[in-house]
């Protein structure tokens, strides 16, 4: 089995127009342990220094960190640094999967021996309202008796074909209905959309938040902060378990995807979410760098930003 070792930097910096007197934040920035993924080292540096800080596992088993800053500040910086090993799947044979209707009916059966874990991801969630229109869209690929895995691959391809990447087309609260009409958005939208399609058919799907390795243009060095955090979809396939699909890139995530957390949708695993007292207008800057370990050694000396942030 081949493994790739990554060094990931995820930096979030808020600047406020007025001093913030109190800030409470929740972080989902620690990569999950999975059978294919090991976290070797992880730390989160917060400036200014939090008055309180604590971490725990959330309902979905993700590590969530709570912190609060009670000294007045006009800037808040959070730098997460992670070293992660990811195992390559490679050209494994396509999993056998039952017809999608069978999966649906099994999960909706009322009575003994329910499959509780996938049922968690079957219903509406804050950002994903199942809709008849989404079911119609999905039915273009979810033909009668088609194996679930096949159909999900086809749906992913269709979304990738039909939708255009456009960071300015949507906001965090753009509903799926609008997305279906305008067919533009970012990875988070595509993931929500695909999950919405699957749940509208009565199938369980979860939202995965993480990172993606991007390749610099040939001949150029890797730029610090040029990447972004990423999101994709996981579909429950009886027998095979949860299988990942990345509609933004039309791939099945392998060793270039690093999983941080999963939940029903973005709201369960928002990298940084909080409430502040004061602050007025704010600007936020997020910089993500994903470096294969070999690369990282080369780049680290050249780039100051690879070091934890210092307060300005």
């Amino acid at each position: 089995m081949t493994q790739v070792r990554y060094h990931v930097l995820h930096e979030t910096r808020y600047r406020y127009a007025w001093p913030v007197s109190t800030s409470r934040q929740l972080l989902h920035l620690t990569p999950r342990e999975t059978p294919r993924q090991k976290t070797l080292a992880h730390r989160v540096d917060i400036t200014p220094l939090p008055a309180e800080r604590e971490s725990r596992n959330d309902y979905f088993g993700n590590l969530v960190e709570h912190f609060s800053v009670s000294a007045a500040h006009e800037e808040l910086a959070v730098l997460a640094t992670s070293n992660v090993d990811v195992t390559r799947i490679g050209d494994a044979p396509m999993p056998q999967s039952p017809a999608w209707e069978h999966v649906r009916d099994r999960l909706h059966q009322v009575g003994p021996a329910p499959l509780l874990e996938p049922c968690q991801f079957l219903y509406a969630s804050p950002h994903i309202e199942p809709l008849a229109a989404l079911a119609r869209y999905a039915r273009l690929d979810f033909h009668r008796e088609r194996p679930l895995f096949d159909a999900a691959c086809a749906l992913m391809r269709r979304i990738h074909r039909d939708f255009e990447f456009d960071p300015d087309a949507t906001t965090v609260s753009t509903p799926l209905e609008t997305l279906l009409k305008q067919r533009r958005g970012v990875c988070q939208d595509f993931a929500h959309f695909m999950i919405g399609c699957l749940r509208s058919l009565g199938l369980p799907a979860r939202y995965v938040s993480g990172y993606l390795l991007t390749q610099p243009p040939p001949g150029q060095p890797r730029l610090i902060g040029a990447d972004a955090s990423h999101a994709w979809v996981s579909v429950f396939c009886p027998g095979a378990g949860w299988l990942d699909f990345d509609p933004t890139n039309c791939v099945q995530p392998d060793d270039q995807h690093i999983t941080v957390a999963w939940g029903r949708d973005f709201s369960d695993v928002t990298p940084m979410r909080g409430v502040i007292l004061g602050g007025g207008e704010h600007a936020v800057e997020v910089r993500v760098t994903v470096m294969p370990e070999d690369d990282a050694r080369l780049t680290r000396t050249a780039a100051g930003a690879a070091q934890p942030l210092e307060p300005e």
Binding site: Y59, G111, L116, L122, Y123, D268, G274, G279
Partner: protein, 816 residues
């Protein structure tokens, strides 16, 4: 039996009748009360009805009806006749409700813990994972004493065969217990002898149990135990009840902005600092309680509250996430859950309800649609309840399509055949009418399991054959009399013995928000008093057609914002509007509304007498407006009297705590500004010292008793500017403010009202012979400076003491 009362009462019908067992035959437990009604003289009943109305109005019992064109508040509707329940019947109801509360508490324990009931297939996953009320951040959270439900309510109805059924469970923050208590107070007063002779069970010990169980299970530390009642605020439909219960139970009534979480503990923000909160009895919905972990868009909650509960540092009742059980879909699964969890059959059936998430139930519901009500399975779904029989072909087909597309969102329920109870027909002197009735009963956790309140909130529909009863739709309520064979427990909810450590001294219970509202209460009272006096003088002068005075007063009205800055054509109409029209900018009527609004937010801190004075004033505003100047003057007299009364209450009825001090500062700031303006206008007008100057300053009597001459400038100015003993003088306000500020500074650290101290020093150095005359530029400049110093002080107090009370929490969320 005398038939007159029942002449128009239906003797037969499809419903169970609470009063009659057969035509013209009373049920035994009604006989005594019915006799009273028969024997009562018509005037006596009229007096009883009037007493009910009066008590409700004067106690300010209201129910906020959303989208009511008459405004946000509506008086509570209460029928004079109680619903009477005999002892043996009550024993069955009570046992069944206690069992149900126990069962529901165990279900919550399981769902927010091991989820064994789901794994065993006794509770379909959709009812938990598909319910927006299942709060994942609260899973695994250990609640004190394993009590999720401290207060539980069930809506009951009686079927034609006389059996009771549960229509719905209220598990989140049940309302109605406080209204039951208020109903009891009113009705036990109008039927006091009958109440005593019939051995009606009292309610007080139920509330004591609720209070004591909270205290017993709450964590300890950081000072004496403190339970607060958390309300969403005055615009909530049952705010009256929040304030009422808070006062009755002795809990501070707080809004989310009064609390903060620090070190994983909950604190109440006081003027003098923070006080640890150990338990929160909440009337705020689950998902609004914490914008950090629950609904991010909630401005009503307390950021960090979930975490404080998770750390075991605060008891929240009911536990967060208990909304989960407010689902019609659950009803059909309760019998098996009861067998499994309690090992006994469910004692009281639920109204037959089928969750359409089960295929057979869906098909059956569609087949029998005409005989069913289709409702949302979960309260968060935006689905209206529909009576199948009401649908035409098209809407029927549309509903079926929706049900098939998302069957787990729907439940189908049998129609309720509610029983009927007698109500006193207020349109006729001696007549009973029949109305559909439902009963909300309450249980609270106690050391020996669940205790059921012996009584409840009976609700009657506005019509006899109503299919639904809702206070939101114009229903009325009844007191519920549970009779007992034994002796009545006459326990009263007085304080248990208080230990020295629990002694409460003045001001320790004041939140910053309350202090700010008291400050504005003071300002608005004074503003209305000033406005009323000024308008009274102006309108009187207009009647007497005294030109010079008229002009000075009109100008003063403009200066105080009562009249528009530009000249008006019909000054009479403009003055009338300034007095009576709440929509006229700056009007007195508008000011009274503001006063009433701020008093509304303080209602739980105001004595009933205060509240009566204010509600009489606002009632008067809402009646037809007079047009004759004489009548307008009469209204203004009422207003001045009312303000005097309020001021008397403040002077005589409030402890001298910081709240009182802020109220007084509000008054003095307002009065100082007003007096400076009045004096400057009077000085600027040519001629003798005017009568109205003394009148506006309510100093006519003092002046006459001292000088026995007509007003002359020197003595008038001495009385109104320099005399420190005259409560209307400029010096009295300024020195009083200086004194309050010194006391504040002693407790909270230095304030620097530089403008005020300088002006006060100047004021004290005025020399009568040189400065107290119309031409004095020094006097005029000083009055101007004092006026603006008052304004600056108000701003400064706001920044220093109130601003943290209304700080805005805003959500931040990273987006990719």
């Amino acid at each position: 039996m005398p038939r007159q009362l029942l002449e128009h009462y239906p003797q037969t019908g499809p419903r169970y009748d609470e009063l009659l067992s057969a035509p013209w035959t009373l049920r035994p437990h009604w006989r005594a009360l019915f006799d009273t009604l028969v024997r009562a003289r018509p005037e006596q009943m009229q007096e009883r009805l009037a007493s009910v109305r009066r008590q409700i109005r004067e106690n300010g019992v209201t129910y906020n009806v959303y989208a009511d064109p008459r405004g946000v508040e509506r008086p509570w509707e209460l029928d004079v006749l109680p619903l009477v329940i005999p002892p043996d019947e009550w024993a069955r109801i009570s046992a069944a409700i206690a069992q149900r509360a126990r069962l529901l508490n165990l279900i919550l324990q399981d769902v927010y813990g091991p989820q064994q009931m789901l794994a065993e297939g006794l509770l379909p996953p959709a009812l938990v994972y598909g319910h927006a009320g299942f709060l994942r951040p609260c899973h695994g959270l250990k609640v004190p004493g394993a009590i999720h439900l401290h207060l539980y309510a069930a809506d009951l109805a009686r079927s034609p065969d006389g059996g009771w059924w549960v229509l719905a469970d209220r598990t989140q923050a049940p309302s109605g217990a406080g209204y039951s208590l208020e109903n009891r107070l009113v009705i036990s007063r109008v039927f006091s002898e009958q109440f005593r002779d019939l051995h009606v069970e009292h309610l007080a010990s139920f509330f004591a149990t609720l209070r004591d169980t909270l205290a017993q299970h709450a964590p300890e530390g950081d000072g004496p135990p403190l339970t607060v009642l958390l309300t969403p605020g005055p615009y909530n439909e049952t705010y009256f009840e929040h304030a009422y219960l808070a006062r009755y139970l002795g809990f501070p009534l707080v809004e989310g902005s009064d609390l903060l979480v620090r070190d994983g503990k909950v604190w109440l923000k006081h003027l003098s600092g923070l006080r640890r909160v150990h338990a929160v009895l909440r009337r705020l919905d689950d998902d609004f309680c914490d914008p950090l972990e629950l609904r991010a868009d909630s401005a009503l909650g307390v950021p960090g509250l979930v975490d404080a509960a998770r750390r075991g540092n605060v008891l929240i009742a009911n536990a967060l996430g208990s909304n989960l059980l407010e689902s019609g879909a659950l009803l059909g699964f309760l019998p098996r859950l009861c067998e499994r969890l309690l090992g006994e059959p469910l004692a009281m059936p639920s109204l037959a309800t089928w969750w359409c998430g089960e295929e057979a139930a869906l098909e059956d519901a569609i087949a029998r649609l005409d005989t069913l009500v289709i409702k949302p399975a979960f309260p968060q779904l935006r689905i209206d309840s529909v009576f199948g029989a009401d649908l035409d072909r098209k809407s029927r087909a549309a509903l079926i399509a929706k049900m098939r597309a998302r069957p787990h969102h729907y439940v189908a329920q049998e129609l309720v055949q509610l029983s009927q109870a007698p109500v006193w027909d207020t349109q006729h002197p001696r007549r009973l009418a029949a109305r559909a009735v439902g009963l909300r009963v309450f249980a609270c956790a106690s050391p020996d399991g669940y205790a059921v309140m012996p009584g409840g909130l009976a609700r009657v529909a506005s019509e006899r054959d109503a299919r639904v009863i809702a206070m939101q739709r114009g229903g009325s309520s009844k007191d519920t009399w549970v009779l007992t064979h034994g002796t009545v427990n006459t326990f009263s909810l007085l304080r248990r013995s208080v230990s020295p450590a629990e002694l409460v001294r003045a001001g320790s219970n004041l939140s910053s928000r309350v202090v700010e509202n008291l400050f504005w209460f003071g300002r608005y009272c004074e503003r209305c008093d000033n406005g009323a006096r000024l308008l009274r003088a102006t309108i009187a002068q207009h009647i007497e057609l005294d030109d010079i005075r008229k002009h000075a007063l009109t100008a003063l009205c403009r200066h105080n914002g009562l009249l528009p800055a530009e000249p008006v054509e019909d000054i009479g109409a403009a003055l009338r509007a300034a007095a009576l029209d709440p929509a006229a900018p700056g009007s007195l009527a508008g000011g009274l509304h503001q006063l009433s609004n701020v008093a509304f937010t303080l209602r739980e801190r105001m004595s009933l007498d205060n509240w009566r004075v204010i509600s009489r004033l606002t009632d008067e505003l809402n009646t037809a407006q007079p047009t004759e100047p004489g009548e307008v003057l009469e209204r203004l007299d009422h207003c001045v009297q009312a303000m005097m009364t309020l001021s008397g209450f403040a002077l005589d009825g409030m402890t001298r705590d910081q709240g009182w001090r802020f109220l007084s500062m509000g008054r003095r700031i307002e009065r100082l500004q007003f007096m400076c303006g009045v004096l400057r206008h009077a000085l600027a007008a040519a001629g003798d010292a005017p009568d109205w100057l003394l009148e506006l300053a309510d100093s006519t009597i003092t002046y006459r008793s001292r000088y026995m001459t007509r007003p002359q400038w020197l003595p008038v100015l001495d009385l109104l500017v320099c005399d420190e003993t005259n409560p209307r003088s400029v010096a009295y306000q300024a020195l009083g403010l200086t004194d309050y500020l010194a006391r504040l500074a002693a407790q909270f650290g230095a304030l620097e009202p530089a403008a005020l101290s300088d002006a006060v020093a100047d004021l004290l150095s005025l020399r009568p012979e040189a400065d107290l005359h119309t031409g004095s530029t020094r006097l005029d400049a000083l009055l101007a400076r004092l006026g603006s110093a008052a304004y600056a002080l108000s701003e400064q107090l706001g920044l220093r003491f109130f601003s943290h009370a209304d700080g805005v929490w805003t959500g931040t969320e990273e987006r990719r």
